[in-house]
Amino acid sequence: MSAGIQADSGAGDGAEGGTSAVPLELRARATASGVIAALVGRDLRRFFRQRSRIAGSLAQPLILWAVLGAGLGDSFRAAGAGGVSYLQYFFPGTIVLTVLFTAIFSTISVIEDRHHGFLQAVLVAPVSRTSLVLGKTLGGVAIALLQATALVALAPLAGFSLGGMGYATLAGALLLSAVGFTALGFAVAWWIDSTQGYHAVMSVALIPLWMLSGAMFPASGAHRAVEVLMRANPMTYAMSAVRRGLYGAQLPAGLVPEWSSPALELGVCALFAVAATCVAAMLCRRRA
């Protein structure tokens, strides 16, 4: 057995058995797609192995939804949309919050992992930094979409009809915002390189953006200054698109900003996803 793992490999692939005689290019054969698939597979395996994480990540937003939705139910009526209960109004915001939390949760590990863990092994492998960013981002996206799907399946609890949803808009909005949030999380993790700093940026900056996205109250009833902020907030567009998707053709009036449209919303989401991914890749390539 100590003949080593080299012993019979020469029989297979010609490039396999060599040492210095093999040209360098032949040995760096790790394809980007192979690396990305392996990294996504790793994240999914880890996720499904942690039962408590699955339960917690679903229970947390549902509890928040039930408590806030029921608690505010009587004191809140969306302006211009009198028929919608707050439990229903708040549900799309819960889905977006879940995607946001998952993105934060799946990228905060980058900080430790990069200096003391698994990511070290990726950094010294013949793998491009862009593949690392895409693999890690898409891993987080896959988990976020699994959780968002579970919540969408529970949407009838909030009075939505699974038969009437605009699935294309919903899927597009969820996918693009998951990519945007996760890539942003990766970029912040790589750039800040400290867990406390990461929390400061992600929680302190992103939660207010979520609050100002139309998740908790519609733009139409808000103070003029707040409405301007909401208009400038990219998350507002993701929020509106998710809301549109959940209602499909039965979208009550006043729930999404009148100055917005599905095309604009998905466009902003796509722009945000691409920009965040580019920034993450740039930071990761530039900094050790």
Partner: protein, 325 residues
């Protein structure tokens, strides 16, 4: 495990240094702020050779390791791989290396086999070969029986072995190991070194290992002693030990400075203090021991011992400090 086994298909036997080193590092420099972590360090490792970078914490070993593995860029210097200029930032260079970190870089939530499969994917080992190579690497590192268990349940020695197994899958030419002895019990470490020794013989694998432990450095063919970012000596363990004359007599007791002063005045022997112990070089240590014992009142000394010099003695002589400092 390796000793009795039949020898390999590839070139066997000990490795006489070939004219072209597998890797040559010339004048490596790296600063962190005002501190020069590496201040013009050069060394070479030949095919089938184990090169040790020995030094205390802060000597520059880990900086050299990170630089060679491509984790941080150098401020200056050059690296050649098999005689050709190479850059650690190039994927072609990294594809020929196997890097084992001091801190585990396996995923503890995955099984041993899953970790290896991930490693194979990162190095582009074709799927058709990966399964067989993983089985072979697991067998080589004696982990086959536990391959299906989560690595979180592995001992420190097993984790180190699964890491080594992972970097063998793509058939590297050069292994970089950062402090392989850390967190591994001595018996497990001995087995790891036996396995590495076999790989080096059978596959002409070159190994660069950083360590601050003299016992580990003894396993290397050649050693580069680093101190404060510079090379302060290089050679085989025997060559380095020859720098210390004869034996080393070690005296332990309270107030080592006073003990050293008394020995200096009364016996005219140069005594140095390292790691709280008084060390005296002497051609014939056994003759010195009773003479030192007579100098002090009973109970004043805790122990006197004479021994052949270790690499720790060599380091202490060269730098005036201990390796654990």
């Amino acid at each position: 495990m390796s000793g009795a086994a039949p020898l390999p298909l590839r070139v066997g036997g000990a490795a006489p240094p070939a004219p072209v080193p597998r890797l040559r590092a010339s004048d490596l420099r790296r600063r962190f702020g005002a501190r020069a972590a590496l201040d013009g360090v050069s060394f070479a490792v030949y095919p089938g050779e184990i090169l040790g970078l020995l030094g205390p914490n802060g000597a520059g070993k880990t900086t050299a390791f990170r630089l060679l593995s491509g984790l941080i860029p150098a401020d200056g210097g050059a690296i050649e791989l098999d005689g050709a200029p190479a850059r650690p930032a190039d994927r072609g260079y990294r594809a020929r290396l196997g890097v084992v970190f001091q801190e585990p870089s396996i995923d503890l939530k995955l099984t041993g086999r899953e970790n290896l499969a991930l490693g194979a994917a990162l190095y582009g080992v074709p799927r058709a070969h990966a399964a067989r190579r993983i089985d072979q690497a697991l067998a080589l590192m004696e982990l086959g029986a536990r391959a299906g268990e989560l690595t979180a349940t592995y001992s420190g020695g097993m984790r180190r072995r699964i890491e080594i197994a992972r970097v063998l899958l793509h058939d590297p030419d050069l292994l970089l190991l950062d402090e392989p002895g850390r967190g591994v019990d001595p018996e497990a470490l001995r087995r790891i070194w036996d396995q590495l020794g076999a790989l080096r013989r059978e596959r002409r694998l070159s190994i660069i290992v950083t360590t601050h432990q003299p016992e580990e450095a003894e396993r290397c063919d050649r050693i580069v002693i680093l101190d404060a970012g510079r090379v302060c000596a290089a050679g085989t363990p025997d060559e380095l030990r020859a720098r210390v004359a004869g034996d080393v007599v070690t005296v332990r007791g309270d107030a080592p400075e006073e003990i050293a002063a008394v020995i200096g005045q009364r016996l005219g022997l140069a005594a140095r203090i390292a790691a709280g112990e008084v060390a005296i070089e002497a051609a014939r240590g056994h003759e010195i021991v009773p003479r030192i014992a007579e100098l002090f009142a009973p109970g004043r000394l805790r122990s006197i011992a004479t021994a052949r010099p270790t690499l720790a003695d060599v380091f202490a002589k060269l730098t005036g400090r201990g390796l654990d400092a």
